[in-house]
Structure formats: structure tokens, C-alpha cells
């Protein structure tokens, strides 16, 4: 299977986990990465700035209908849901889902719908049940489900909720998730023309 998109969901404790994960990816990582990190609704820009320091890949807040491009890390902007269409990102101000906007479920479910088995979904630390349904949707569409090992998570609620709703393909500490992604991404690079 060749993958085309990585989606990541993180909540409480996510800043450190996401920074570690991004820091473990090579500068020539060959897949697009979309991230929902639960954040305060007026935190514009700040998250991208912080994560950029850790990442060799460019990190940005998504603008509506931005093209989905390999090697770019795209964050759900504060106070918007991030959705995936085939080839572009889309945004919405629909009501929060499980108290969250952006919502991990919204991103993951739209990714599963648009990219089916070509999605890698990753749930990291958090104190919410957000992401559990979304990861199940990815798995049901034939994609790859990855969950941070709850024992290594700053807050184990979210990884545990995900593991209750889906049989994950990999349960790993964050640095090992980065290694896994690097390998999967490199496989993708080989088949690229």
C-alpha cells in the first residue's frame, strides 16, 4: 500500500509530543502531514511558530482550499475545523464536536472519506475522547491506525479511548512513530517518478 496523507490528532500534552514527532522526520519526508492540536481559540500563529522550531519541514496554519502538498506540515487554524477533500484542505466553523473546534474526528473522518486506504492516522496524548471515532473511520476505510503508547503519553486518556474503539496497527512511543513514518514515507518516495 502506498500512503498519500498523514493525519495527526493531539490534545493535552500534545505540543511536546507533536514537536518530538516532527523533529524525528527527515527534511525530505515525502507525505503531506495534517495536524489537529486542540488549542485556544485566539492562539493564532503561535502554534506554528513553536512547532517550526522543532521541524525540518515547513509548518503552517492552513488557509482555506490550500493544496495538499508533500513535505508540508499543515495545522488546523484556531477556531476552525480542518477537513480534507481530494487534493485540497477545507475549513468550517461548524459547532464544536466533543467540545473541540478544531476536532480530530472531523479531520480524520474527512480524510478517510477522501483518501480511503491511503491515510495514516495517528492519535497522540490528550485528555479527551476526540479522535477515537475518526481513527476507527480510517481503519474501516483500510487506512493505517497508529496510537501513542498510553504508558508514554503525558495524558493517557485519548490514546486509551482510541485503543478502545479500534484495533491499532501500531502502538508506539512518539520517537518510534517518527521512525515508522520515516520508513513509510521513504517507501512512498521510491515509487514516486
Amino acid at each position: 500500500m502506498t500512503f498519500e496523507l498523514v493525519v495527526i490528532g493531539a490534545s493535552l500534552g500534545g505540543l511536546h509530543a507533536v514537536a518530538t514527532l516532527l523533529g524525528g522526520l527527515p527534511g525530505n519526508f515525502g507525505l503531506p502531514v495534517a495536524i489537529v492540536q486542540h488549542r485556544h481559540r485566539e492562539s493564532e500563529g503561535a502554534l506554528a511558530t513553536v512547532l517550526q522550531r522543532a521541524s525540518k519541514l515547513p509548518v503552517c496554519d492552513v488557509e482555506d482550499k490550500q493544496a495538499i502538498r508533500s513535505g508540508i506540515v499543515c495545522l488546523a487554524p484556531a477556531d476552525y475545523h480542518l477537513l480534507v477533500e481530494r487534493d485540497v484542505f477545507a475549513l468550517s466553523t461548524e459547532a464544536p464536536v466533543l467540545y473541540s473546534r478544531p476536532s480530530i474526528n472531523v479531520l480524520f473522518e474527512s480524510a478517510a472519506d477522501a483518501y480511503g486506504p491511503q491515510v495514516i492516522g495517528i492519535i497522540l496524548t490528550g485528555a479527551s475522547a476526540d479522535g477515537a471515532d475518526g481513527l476507527a473511520a480510517i481503519k474501516a476505510a483500510g487506512g493505517l491506525a497508529v496510537v501513542q503508547d498510553p504508558a508514554t503519553a503525558e495524558c493517557r486518556v485519548m490514546p486509551e479511548a482510541a485503543l478502545e474503539s479500534v484495533v491499532a496497527d501500531h502502538v508506539l512511543p512518539v520517537p518510534a512513530i517518527a521512525t515508522l513514518l520515516t520508513q513509510l514515507g521513504a517507501g512512498e518516495l521510491k515509487v514516486a517518478p
Binding site: E85, A90, T93, E94, A95, V106, S110, Y115, G116
Partner: protein, 272 residues
């Protein structure tokens, strides 16, 4: 990736557009699908085809469908710094005009419009303004016209108002009654509310300011291009266009005919 459901959705939207004239065919698909799934649940039907039968044959169901197809979430002084920038950078431009026409396209239940009226009042410009507030949705327009919002939102809105540079006491703009905040009638003296569909209707006036925020995010690129053309046509030379916090004019048909007023603030000036 449910191919059959994708086809059913296309058929539903085609039917609604051709029979009723409400055209959702060029809406952004991912969030539209979520809303259709919500309607299926709410109507208690299992397939999009079953929903189509009901929407086409039952006018009451159409009303519910229309309301559910659009996202009407809004707030007073949403993104306070947008209003702050408007006050500091756009208001000085407007002061030079004897008469100012403003269009809120996709105004939803009106919170944004009342925010603007308050801002213009505090700038001492409101008496020179005529605000046109439009939306495709009759139900939300009726709420906008009423100018009555939930009292329990007022704390949030007061905070936004203050961050937006509000210089007076926010509570003077409404009276509290039961659970509701009734905004002062004089605030809507210069506002005209009317139905207008950005997907199908044309330009109806020339404006000095157009705000179309968090509306085009629900459209695909083709429909966005149509709307940008409509807005461009409706904006006077050196008029100001404001879009939502996560929207920009990049890659839109008239991007080169606008200049950004302040980088990152989503306010643009038509320069040619």
C-alpha cells in the same frame, strides 16, 4: 469513499437546484457531506435517495434541509483584532467619504452586522452609512432583523468588544429581558436586511466596503471564483474587502486588483 452515496448526493443537489433554485452543487464536498449525514439522522432516513424523495415532495422538509445545509455559526466581534484593524486602518479612509455603503454578504443571524454598526457608531460615522446585510437563508435573516441574541453570550461578546477596541460600555447597546439581549433599535436604523444568494444572484449595488467572512470556505474553487468576481464587480475603486481569518485572495481571479491593507489581517483594498 462511498461511490453510491456520492452519486446520490449529486442527484439530490441537482434536484434541489433545478426544482427549487437553491444551488449547492458547487459547495465544498467534505463539510457538505457531514451536514447531509446530520440531516439523514435528524430526518430518520437511511439513504440520501430517501432524503431526496422527501425534500422534493415536502416543502416543510425543504425548509429544514436549507437550514441544515448552511453553517450559520457566528459571533459578535469574531476575531476582535479584525475589527481593531478595521477601526484603525479602514475607518480613516471612510471618513473622507460623504456617504458610505457597506455590504455584509452571508451575514447569518446578524451578529457581525450589529458589531459593525456599533463600531461605526463609536467612530462617529454611523449616520453616514447604509449597511446591506444579506444571506440566502430567510430563517437566519429573520433573526438578524430581530436583533435579539442569547443573554448568556454577552460576557463573551463583551470581551470581544473590548479586545476589538470598543471604547464605551457594551451593555448600553442592549436591554436584557429574560434570557435575551435585545439590541437597541437605533442600531438597525441604517441596516437593510434582504435575501441574496451568492451562488445564483448578481450584483445589486456598488459598495465602499464588502465583508464576506467565513462564507466562501463552504464553496469549492469554482464557486469561490464566481463570488470573487461578483464582489469585485460590486466594490468601488479603492473600496475595501474583508474576508475570514483563514481566507485569502491568493489564487482568486482578481487577486492582483487588490492590495492587502495590513499583512495577515484579511482586509484588502481594490486598487484597479
Amino acid at each position: 469513499m462511498n461511490e453510491l452515496e456520492d452519486i446520490e448526493i449529486q442527484l439530490l443537489l441537482e434536484g434541489v437546484a433545478r426544482f427549487y433554485g437553491y444551488d449547492f452543487r458547487n459547495y465544498a464536498l467534505a463539510s457538505l457531506k457531514r451536514r447531509i449525514a446530520n440531516v439523514l439522522r435528524a430526518e430518520g432516513v437511511k439513504t440520501v435517495s430517501a432524503l431526496q424523495e422527501r425534500v422534493l415532495h415536502d416543502a416543510a422538509c425543504l425548509e429544514r434541509f436549507l437550514l441544515a445545509m448552511t453553517v450559520n455559526v457566528t459571533a459578535m466581534f469574531r476575531d476582535p483584532h479584525f475589527y481593531l484593524t478595521f477601526m484603525t486602518k479602514v475607518v480613516p479612509l471612510l471618513r473622507t467619504y460623504p456617504f458610505i455603503r457597506i455590504w455584509h454578504a452571508g451575514c447569518s443571524s446578524g451578529e457581525e452586522v450589529y458589531s459593525m454598526a456599533i463600531l461605526l457608531h463609536e467612530a462617529g460615522l454611523y449616520d453616514r452609512c447604509r449597511i446591506y446585510a444579506t444571506d440566502m437563508n430567510a430563517a437566519v435573516l429573520a433573526q438578524a432583523k430581530a436583533g435579539i441574541f442569547a443573554l448568556n453570550k454577552m460576557q463573551e461578546y463583551t470581551n470581544n468588544y473590548l479586545k476589538a477596541g470598543g471604547s464605551q460600555s457594551f451593555s448600553q447597546y442592549y436591554t436584557a429581558a429574560y434570557e435575551r439581549a435585545i439590541f437597541r433599535p437605533w442600531l438597525k436604523e441604517h441596516i437593510t436586511f434582504s435575501q441574496h444568494n451568492l451562488a445564483t444572484d448578481g450584483s445589486f449595488n456598488e459598495f465602499n466596503v464588502i465583508l464576506c467572512r467565513n462564507v466562501m470556505i463552504y464553496f469549492n474553487k469554482d464557486l469561490q471564483a464566481r463570488v470573487h468576481h461578483l464582489l469585485y464587480e460590486s466594490l468601488s475603486l479603492f473600496g475595501v474587502l474583508g474576508v475570514g481569518q483563514a481566507e485569502s485572495l491568493k489564487f482568486t481571479p482578481h487577486e492582483h486588483q487588490y492590495a492587502e491593507i495590513v499583512s495577515g489581517e484579511r482586509l484588502y483594498r481594490r486598487i484597479s
